[in-house]
């Protein structure tokens, strides 16, 4: 019985950590990122929660994959000013529409909520002050 319990605990821990990001932390790497080009804006995508770590759907920006919603991970893209739609799909598709200005930085938090068979990952636009704080311990996944 003891052996069974240990095995169960091991499997649980392994399942918990599967899918977690493993790159360098934002706090350690962000100073090495290039400055935003004059005619661009930057969008950070981050998922600070470990909940549902095994679920890491691709993140699409205007229909094109730009990265993965990995637990405790982050990535960024630089894009020209304009209108954008962020999309994540598990058993349902969740969308976020946002505007990006020149030289503007935006933070998109990738949240997880309960689903029927699997959790739903939904993108949410957050205030920069919140995004800057919550992203600090996330690990760089390098985008697409």
């Amino acid at each position: 019985m003891k052996k069974m319990l240990s095995l169960f605990a091991l499997v649980t821990v392994a399942a918990l950590f599967t899918g977690c990001a493993s790159g360098p932390k934002y706090s350690a790497i962000h100073s090495t990122f290039p400055p935003i080009a004059q005619d661009s804006g930057r969008i950070y995508f981050y998922r600070d929660s470990m909940l549902g770590a095994a679920i890491s759907p691709p993140v699409k920006l205007n229909g094109n994959p730009v990265g993965t919603a990995q637990a405790q991970g982050f990535f960024y893209v630089d894009r020209p000013p304009g209108n954008y739609t962020v999309e994540t799909s598990t058993e349902v598709t969740r969308r976020l529409s946002l505007m990006l200005d020149s030289n503007q930085t935006r933070y998109v938090k990738l949240n997880i909520s309960m689903g029927f068979f699997v959790g739903h990952v939904y993108p949410e636009l957050v205030e920069n002050a919140i995004g800057e704080k919550e992203i600090i311990d996330c690990k760089y996944t390098g985008g697409k």
């Binding site: 969308r95 689903g115 029927f116 636009l125």
Partner: protein
């Protein structure tokens, strides 16, 4: 040896309860996707003349019938960016404004006769009406 069927090993009440729980879970699963914003077609014209600006004198909770009200903060400064048939459209840099349902849309405020009539969605080019017009207190600024 004859295997026992579920009916023999489980009382009918338990099976009923299990069925009910499964049905509940299924319905709950369906409910995840039923919050829709009431997106209306709208014609938007960008502001051309001198932009009107104001400061909001109160916190506002705008209900849109989605279950997720949009909150506007006191002392945020708004400037006119355009006009629609539902009212003038204002944007702010002091807070993020979104209309939230199953999907989330960045939004701008629509005001007519000192009442919030709804929100303009610049990416989708649609209008989402407020559940009812919301009178607001503002202070004009130049």
């Amino acid at each position: 040896m004859k295997r026992k069927s579920i009916g023999e090993t489980m009382p009918n009440k338990t099976i009923g309860l299990l069925g009910l729980a499964l049905a509940g879970m299924f319905l709950a699963g369906c409910m995840f996707d039923v919050s829709h914003a009431n997106l209306q077609p709208v014609s938007f014209a960008a502001a051309t003349g001198p932009a009107q600006s104001f400061v909001l004198n109160q916190n506002v909770e705008a209900k849109l019938g989605t279950g997720f009200p949009t909150r506007l903060n006191v002392l945020t400064r708004w400037h006119q960016v355009g006009t629609t048939e539902y009212g003038d459209v204002f944007a702010t840099k002091d807070q993020i404004v979104t209309v939230e349902a199953s999907n989330i849309y960045e939004a701008q405020l629509v005001i007519s006769n000192r009442c919030i009539t709804g929100f303009y969605l610049p990416v989708d080019m649609k209008f989402v009406p407020a559940a009812h017009p919301i009178p607001i207190e503002t202070k004009s600024v130049n």
